[in-house]
Amino acid sequence: MNMPSSFRKILLAHLPYAASEEFSPDDDLAALGLDSIGMMHLLVDLEEAFGLELPDEVITEETLATAGSLWQMVSGLIAAELPVDA
C-alpha cells in the first residue's frame, strides 16, 4: 500500500508516539496514541488537505484502527470525488 507523504505528515502530527512518518499499513493508531480528541483534529486536517467531507458512516473504529485502514478509507473517497474522465 502506497501512502502519500501528505497523508503520512498529517498522521504524524496527530500521533504522539509515532517516531517518524515511515508508517507501515498495520501500525495501530490507538497504540500510537490516537485518542478521541486527537481523532477529531486528525479528521478535520484530512478533510482540509484532501478537499473531502468525511461522512459519519465511514468514521468507524475499523477505519480508524491502523494507518492502512485509514488511508484505504481516505483514498477511496478521493477516488470517488475524481471526475470520471480524469
Partner: protein, 562 residues
C-alpha cells in the same frame, strides 16, 4: 500468585491479585479485541509475569509504572506487580512526557512497563542513574531504538515483555509476606493547581472497594462489563476489580467514538457500563440499536454531575437498565451512590455512602451539619487511602482524624474538600468543590446549578461554569459551552437562561467554543479551561459593567451579555 496454583485458596483475599481466585477456571475473564483469556489463563499469565518481575530483582514495595493503552498485557502487568509484592502505578495512556516524567521521578520507579510505540517518549524522561532500573517493552521489538542512548538511560536496562511474561512460575518470596495494609498502588490525580499528586492505596482499600461496589451493583459471574474509563483512574481500575471479584468478564476498550462503545455493547452483550458525564453526553446522542442494550442491566455515571436531560435521554435509550449515579474521590477510592429506586424522587442526589463506608457532613469545626446545611463531606472506613506519596503537608491537610471520634487512638478520615448537604432523609447532594464555589454579589453559587440550567435549555451540548475575579461582584460568572447543532449562538442561550435563573446566578459572559478541554480521565478540565481563556481574568474597572470590558476570545464566537 503461586499459592493459588496449588489449589489452596487463601481464606480471604490479601493482595489485589487474589481477586483472580473468584472466577471459574473456564469462565472468560478479560477480552481485548478478538482475544479473550479465561480465569485460569489469566492466573497463569499473572504468575509468570510476577516471576519475571521477581527475576529482574523487583522487591516488595518497589514501584512499577505501567504506561500503556488498555490491552490484555496492561491488566496482566498491574496484577503481576501485585503478585510480586510490588506497587503498581498506572499512568494515564494519554499523559504527555512532562506528566510521565513527574510520575517516574516522584514515585521513584524501579521498573517501567510500556509499549514499543511509547519507548521514545519514556526514554526521554527516565530518571538518570536509577540503580538497577528496568524498562519492559510490550509489542514488536523497537529495532535499533532499543540500545540505550537517551539522556536518562544510564543504569536502565531494556527487556522484552514477551520473554518476561514467559518465565516459569516460581514462589515469589517477598509477596507471601505482604499483608492487606501494605501499599498496592499509587494513582496520580490532578488537582486544580500544581503537579499531580500520588494517592497511595493499600491492598485493603482496593479489595474493600471492589467488594463494596460489586455488591451494590449486583455483579455476578454472568456479567459482562465494558471498561471504557482509563485504568489509571479510580473508577476505571474499579471496572476491572469489580468484575474480577464477581468472577465476571471485563471487555477492554480504548475510547475513540461513541459508535465503538455501541458496537462492543452489541457484540459482547454488555450488562454494565460506567462512564463519566462528558462521555455520557456523547453516548446519549446517537440512537442505540435494541441489540446493543438487550442485556444491559445498569448504567452508571461518576466523576461529576450528570445533567438531568442526559439522564432522562439515557433512561429512554436503555429502558431495561437501572441508572446508578455515583460519587467518588480517589482519596477514598469510591464513596457514595444513589439507589436506582430513588432516581425519580431525587435525581440530583449523589445518594448515600457505599457499603462499609460512612459519610459525615460537618462544619469547619467538625460538628455535624443539620439537614439542608452545607458542610464538608468527610469519608471514613476501609476505603480511606494511606495518604499522598512523598507529600506529608498535603497528606496532613486532607487526611485528618474523624471528627468527634471517641476511640483510644485517632482514626483517620478523608476530608474531601467537597461541599455537600443532606436532605431530611439523609440523602446527599453535591454542591461543589469547596475551591470551585462561585462567590458573587454576596451569594455562594454552585457551578453545577448554572450548568444544569444551561443543559435544561436544550441548547447546549456541554457546559462549564466558573467564577472569575471581579472588582465589583467579588467574582463574576462565566459560562463556556458547546452548542447542540450549528448556527446556535450565545444570545439565544442567554435569553433562555434569563427565564431560568435569578439575576445573580446568570452568567455575565458566555463563550461558545468548538469543544471543552478534558482532563486525561475524560472529565471537564476546569483549570485548563481557565488557562485557555485569559480574557476571563481581565480585571474589571469599577463603574463599568463586567461584560463590557471582556474581550471576545479570538478562537470563539463570544456572546457578550450585559
Amino acid at each position: 500468585m503461586p499459592e493459588l496454583r496449588h489449589g489452596r485458596l487463601p481464606a480471604m483475599p490479601v493482595r489485589v491479585d487474589h481477586l483472580l481466585s473468584f472466577g471459574a477456571a473456564d469462565a472468560p475473564a478479560v477480552t481485548f479485541r478478538s482475544h479473550t483469556l479465561s480465569y485460569s489463563e489469566l492466573r497463569d499469565r499473572v504468575s509468570r509475569a510476577a516471576s519475571g518481575l521477581h527475576a529482574l530483582g523487583v522487591q516488595r514495595g518497589d514501584r512499577v509504572v505501567v504506561y500503556a493503552e488498555k490491552r490484555i498485557e496492561t491488566v496482566v502487568a498491574l496484577l503481576a506487580t501485585a503478585a510480586a509484592g510490588a506497587v503498581f502505578v498506572p499512568v494515564n495512556p494519554l499523559s504527555r512526557p512532562r506528566q510521565l516524567g513527574h510520575v517516574l521521578a516522584d514515585c521513584g520507579a524501579r521498573v517501567v512497563i510500556t509499549t514499543a510505540e511509547r519507548w521514545a517518549t519514556v526514554r526521554a524522561v527516565l530518571v538518570p542513574d536509577t540503580p538497577a532500573g528496568h524498562v519492559v517493552l510490550i509489542g514488536r521489538p523497537a529495532g535499533p531504538a532499543v540500545p540505550g542512548q537517551g539522556p536518562g538511560e544510564a543504569g536502565w536496562r531494556v527487556h522484552d515483555w514477551a520473554a518476561l511474561a514467559r518465565a516459569a512460575p516460581v514462589l515469589v518470596p517477598g509477596a507471601a509476606a505482604v499483608i492487606d495494609q501494605d501499599v498496592a498502588a499509587i494513582l496520580y490525580t490532578s488537582g486544580s493547581s500544581g503537579q499531580p499528586k500520588g494517592v497511595v492505596l493499600s491492598h485493603r482499600n482496593i479489595l474493600a472497594g471492589a467488594a463494596s461496589v460489586a455488591s451494590y451493583l449486583g455483579h455476578g459471574p454472568d456479567d459482562v462489563l465494558l471498561a471504557v474509563l482509563p485504568l489509571s483512574f479510580d473508577a476505571g481500575l474499579s471496572q476491572v476489580t469489580t468484575a474480577l471479584i464477581a468472577g465476571a468478564h471485563v471487555v477492554l476498550m480504548n475510547y475513540l467514538l461513541p459508535a465503538g462503545v455501541i458496537r462492543l455493547c452489541a457484540s459482547h452483550q454488555i450488562t454494565g457500563l460506567t462512564c463519566v458525564p462528558p462521555l455520557w453526553l456523547q453516548l446519549a446522542g446517537p440512537d442505540w440499536p435494541a441489540g446493543a442494550t438487550r442485556r444491559l442491566r445498569y448504567f452508571a455515571s461518576t466523576g461529576g454531575r450528570m445533567p438531568r436531560v442526559t439522564l432522562d435521554r439515557l433512561r429512554g435509550q436503555f429502558p431495561g437498565a437501572e441508572p446508578f449515579l455515583m460519587y467518588g474521590l480517589t482519596e477514598a477510592f469510591r464513596s457514595a451512590y444513589l439507589n436506582p429506586a430513588e432516581v425519580d424522587r431525587r435525581p440530583d442526589s449523589i445518594g448515600k455512602a457505599i457499603p462499609n463506608a460512612e459519610i459525615l457532613v460537618v462544619r469547619p469545626d467538625g460538628s455535624p451539619c443539620a439537614p439542608g446545611e452545607h458542610g464538608e463531606l468527610v469519608h471514613r472506613g476501609a476505603l480511606v487511602a494511606l495518604g499522598y506519596w512523598n507529600d506529608p503537608a498535603r497528606t496532613a491537610e486532607r487526611f485528618r482524624p474523624v471528627p468527634g471520634s471517641a476511640g483510644p487512638r485517632p482514626e483517620i478520615a478523608v476530608w474531601s474538600g467537597d461541599t455537600v448537604y443532606r436532605d431530611d432523609d439523609g440523602f446527599l447532594y453535591f454542591v461543589g468543590r469547596t475551591d470551585e464555589m462561585i462567590k458573587t454579589s454576596g451569594y455562594r453559587v454552585s457551578p453545577a446549578e448554572i450548568e444544569e440550567a444551561a443543559y435544561a435549555t436544550g441548547l447546549v451540548a456541554e457546559a462549564v461554569a466558573l467564577g472569575v475575579e471581579d472588582a465589583q461582584l467579588g467574582q463574576r460568572i462565566v459560562l463556556a459551552v458547546t452548542m447542540r447543532g450549528p448556527g446556535r449562538g450565545g444570545d439565544e442561550l442567554s435569553r433562555a437562561l434569563a427565564g431560568q435563573l435569578p439575576a445573580y446566578m446568570r452568567p455575565q459572559h458566555i463563550d461558545v467554543l468548538p469543544q471543552l478541554p478534558r482532563s486525561p480521565n475524560g472529565k471537564f478540565d476546569r483549570a485548563g479551561l481557565r488557562r485557555a481563556m485569559p480574557h476571563w481574568s481581565v480585571p474589571t474597572v469599577a463603574g463599568c459593567p463586567a461584560a463590557a470590558t471582556s474581550e471576545p476570545h479570538p478562537a470563539a464566537a463570544a456572546a457578550d451579555l450585559a
